[in-house]
């Protein structure tokens, strides 16, 4: 550590009152990566502010010294969004974990960013409310991280993503100033800056206070399991459910490899089949029961040979436990795995699935599939063994190839995990240069010096002083397929 760095850290230490600064190499190791463990960078220091003023003070010092910073919640992100940047600091919001206000009458809660997702529901459950976005990591991930990534979850098919449930944000901008975006009331005058901030992966500033919408628990929830010979048959059932005009709370699909892994890990007693469908309906009892009969019939019509309705809450929880544990369960059947979360239009499912199967066979690398079938959000789990030379690279290559398949089908490289460090090089395959350039102009309005998580999301940074360029025809326009974004 040089003298300048030492002076910088000494100043920050006074800001966070000594106890909020970590700079010893042993302790810093905890922070060198997030949930995406194959990327690691050692930060200069980690700061643990306990209130908004401390966050502002830290950011002001960083701004003055031109030191980049990365905000971090629980560090569960799967795309490297909280990966430190070289010679930068990490600002952990873990100590800002208070639920500040619960307003049932207006169905709003105000929380600090370090509050754990599931704790919001835990707090409002006694009054039959819940916080809808439910990423699989909800028992450990933080609201601040959810805001950064615009996290989804199995139930966003019906309830929407984090962005639907955030009403207001208090944000420390990259120069240390404080702004309030949105409001407790809807449609505050001005641009929807909150809409841009949610999902910006920490590149536009740090949220220090979040107003969330909570939702009344529906009268009943029913979950159905249906066993099919393969994912194509299960996929056809999904299409028919949608075509019948239903909007289930969740539709999840697992292939045989994923079922085996879940069974080995948490014994959810899934039927051993080629394609398992999990359909959840919620709402008033009379409505749900009428519609569940339709879902049952649709599944059988499409070849389901076993259809089970979870009879009790315990059974329902077990069904979900298997699904939510699916990623972690991969450890039971493979030493290492890569998970992607590309999205495809649901109609492309059979095509993309058979291509994934073909690639898997060709490369000899197994791929387990778990996905949010209702909205086409795939979660291919590419299984490999790091100890076998070359297999990690081959697995990475395959996982990127799967994302290309998603793009070729008209989809997206990420449905909920974010671009982060991992997928930024895929951004120029999904978007044309003018698209990315426009996004970067937005970034320049928030962070002209590129200090806030500067190396993420975009393949190449744009200097904010640059004059906007001349008109260049959109490559997709010239290719005559302008509607393919």
């Amino acid at each position: 550590m040089n003298l300048m760095e030492k002076r910088f850290l000494d100043e920050l230490r006074t800001v966070v009152d000594g106890r909020g600064l970590i700079s010893s190499p042993e302790e810093l190791h905890t922070y060198e990566c997030d949930g995406l463990t194959n990327f690691r960078v050692m930060p200069l220091a980690v700061l643990l502010p306990s209130d908004t003023q401390q966050v502002q003070a830290i950011v002001r010092v960083c701004h003055r010294e031109r030191i980049p910073f990365v905000a971090r919640g629980s560090g569960t992100g799967l795309s490297g969004g909280a990966l430190p940047v070289e010679n930068g600091v990490v600002i952990s919001l873990a100590r800002m974990n208070r639920i500040l206000e619960v307003d049932y009458a207006n169905a709003r809660v105000v929380v600090e960013p370090g509050v754990i997702n599931l704790d919001v529901t835990g707090r409002v459950q006694p009054n039959q409310y819940f916080y809808a976005p439910d990423p699989s990591s909800q028992s450990v991930c933080s609201i601040g991280g959810n805001v950064a990534e615009n996290s989804g979850g199995a139930h966003c098919l019906k309830y929407g993503f984090t962005t639907t449930h955030v009403l207001a944000l208090e944000v420390v901008l990259p120069d240390g100033s404080l702004v309030h975006l949105g409001g407790k009331c809807l449609d505050m005058p001005g641009y929807d800056l909150m809409g841009v901030f949610v999902g910006s992966e920490g590149t536009l500033g740090i949220a220090t206070k979040v107003t969330l919408r909570i939702v009344k628990r529906p009268e009943c929830i029913r979950t159905l399991l249906a066993a099919f010979d393969g994912t194509n048959e299960a996929g056809a059932a999904v299409s028919d459910i949608i075509a019948a005009g239903m909007l289930p709370a969740a539709i999840e699909m697992m292939d045989n490899l994923a079922i085996q892994a879940a069974e080995a890990a948490v014994h959810p007693h899934y039927p051993n089949c080629g394609g398992l469908l999990l359909v959840e309906l919620d709402g008033p009892v009379a409505e749900v029961e009428a519609l569940m009969r339709d879902v049952d019939a649709i599944c059988r019509k499409n070849g389901a040979w076993e259809v089970r309705l979870a009879q009790t809450d315990t059974e329902r929880m077990l069904v979900w436990k298997g699904r939510k544990a699916a990623f972690a369960a991969m450890g039971r059947i493979s030493p290492n795995y890569i998970v992607q979360d590309g999205v495809i239009p649901r109609t492309a499912l059979p095509r993309v699935m058979s291509e994934i199967a073909r690639l898997s066979e060709e490369t000899g690398i197994r791929v387990a599939n778990v996905f949010h079938a209702g909205d086409g959000n795939l979660h291919p789990l590419v299984l490999y063994d790091r100890r076998i030379p070359g297999q990690e690279q081959a697995a990475e290559k395959l996982s990127y190839r799967i994302l290309e398949l998603c793009l070729e089908a008209g989809g997206s490289i990420t449905g909920e995990h974010g671009v982060g460090e991992e997928k930024k090089r895929m951004m120029s395959k999904m978007f044309a240069e003018p698209d990315l350039d426009t996004m970067q102009r937005v970034r320049c309005a928030f962070d002209p010096l590129h200090l806030s998580n500067p190396t993420k999301v975009f393949p190449t940074p744009r200097l904010c002083g640059e004059k906007p360029g001349e008109y260049v025809a959109h490559p997709l326009e010239t290719a005559g397929i302008a509607e393919r974004y």
Binding site: C185, P189, P345, V442, Y471
Partner: protein, 420 residues
């Protein structure tokens, strides 16, 4: 003047002589007569026309169906109206994926008609659907009764293409419902009043048309009682789609509730509603009650002002009380259609000087409780009322954003918050 400038020659070369004309009285924007009206035939032409206007320092007003062109502050300058009338294609309705890609100039009604062929809809009930265009409803962030269940347009839009003043055509979002790659620019242009770029096409997630619907209405004996009814419905496990209050000078408030479900579901919901409301008599009502918001706009006089209000549901009674007190004291006729989301449409009829005073007082009260009041329509002889009111501490950031995307303030100068 037409036929003289180099700019005009260039513009004509881009859009063709048949798509360029001089502005007439019918094209006036808040009292400002634009010099030209151009109707490009596709988004490339639109972007090119915008770019040369930007280069020449010509102020541009994007226009769809012109139903809400008076919303916002009057433009400081309006030289060229850029119409999306020819950008009216439904590019792709992938019904099995519940998505649609549509050009900005397509009217809401023709879109809904097409979607209905496959039993689907854009779950949004905008004003004047026969004429209002997709670009217009997005830019003004119009918001109806379906918002309670399906969210606002910001929650339904999943992709957008915009033309920026420098001629860039930029897309963001995509064609799939779930997508977090890159910044969410579809939300940014929603409600931006065309000050950041001209929306040329949008992609939406869709919802199935309901199997059956039923509406009910009930009267509240006073404002606090009505607020209590609304809050207890919102706190119940009823699965209603819309809930609104209609109220005006010298009237008891009436609430309307809409259910969309299967027949079995509707019957159960009805009995639960009756149980919940107890004494309040619940009557089956016609679907036309949902036109109440649009009906406020009927027959405006030179004393009519309309505004969008936003408040917390727990401030419903207080707000209605204020309206009554102010209305009585100042001799103002008022009528409010308020959604359970807290978004309302307010009509005031009074002499213009009174209108200014009422708006100032009411806006002050709403703002002090975290809400807002935005003036949408004011009399032709306008008292000087700012359309927006307080936009908070992020106005400098909004200006920075405007500067990044429209550095020469070509688009709708002066119409938006903080002079943007």
């Amino acid at each position: 003047m037409l036929g003289t400038s180099i700019f005009e020659e260039n513009l004509r070369a881009i859009v063709g002589p048949e798509n360029l004309r001089a502005g007439t009285d019918a094209d006036v924007v808040c009292g400002v007569l634009p010099q030209f009206v151009a109707e490009p035939k596709d988004e490339k032409q639109l972007a090119a026309a915008l770019a040369i206007a930007n280069e020449a320092g010509i102020a541009v007003v994007p226009r769809g169906g012109a139903t809400k062109l008076g919303w916002g502050n009057p433009p400081k300058k309006a030289d060229l109206v850029l119409s999306t009338v020819h950008l009216n294609r439904i590019v792709e309705h992938v019904w099995a994926d519940l998505t649609v890609t549509v050009e900005a100039g397509c009217t809401l009604k023709s879109l809904q008609k097409k979607l209905a062929q496959h039993g689907q809809r854009l779950a949004f009930d905008g004003l004047w659907p026969e004429r209002a265009t997709i670009g217009g409803v997005l830019s003004t962030n119009d918001s109806g009764a379906l918002r309670l269940r399906f969210g606002a347009l910001r929650d339904l839009i999943i992709g957008v293409t915009i033309a920026l003043p420098d001629g860039t055509l930029a897309s963001s979002g995509g064609k799939v419902v779930k997508n977090v790659a890159g910044y969410d620019l579809p939300k940014l242009v929603t409600g931006a009043f065309g000050t950041l770029g001209v929306t040329t096409r949008a992609v939406f997630r869709l919802h199935p048309l309901p199997r059956a619907t039923k509406s009910f209405s009930f009267i509240g004996e006073n404002f606090p009682a009505m607020q209590q009814h609304i809050l207890s419905i919102q706190d119940s496990q009823l699965a209603h789609t819309s809930l609104q209050i209609r109220c005006g000078s010298c009237e008891l408030p009436v609430a309307d509730i809409l259910f969309e479900a299967t027949d079995a579901g509707l019957a159960a919901q009805e009995s639960q509603l009756r149980k919940l409301l107890g004494a309040a008599s619940v009557e089956h009502s016609a679907e036309t009650v949902w036109n109440a918001r649009q009906d406020l706009w009927k027959t405006p006089t030179n004393k009519t002002l309309l505004a969008k209000t936003s408040l917390l549901p727990t401030n419903i009674a207080k707000t209605l009380d204020s309206l009554k007190t102010i209305g009585d004291a100042r001799n103002v006729t008022w009528r409010l259609v308020l959604q359970a989301t807290g978004i309302g449409m307010l009509r005031l009829d009074a002499a213009p000087p009174q209108l200014s005073a009422v708006i100032e007082q009411l806006r002050g009260e709403l703002q002090s409780r975290g809400g807002s009041l935005v003036v949408l329509h004011r009399p032709a002889e306008p008292p000087s009322i700012d359309a927006w009111g307080d936009a908070g501490d992020s106005v400098p950031l909004m200006r920075a954003l405007k500067h990044q995307l429209d550095p020469k303030t070509t688009l709708n100068p002066g119409r938006f918050v903080g002079g943007i």
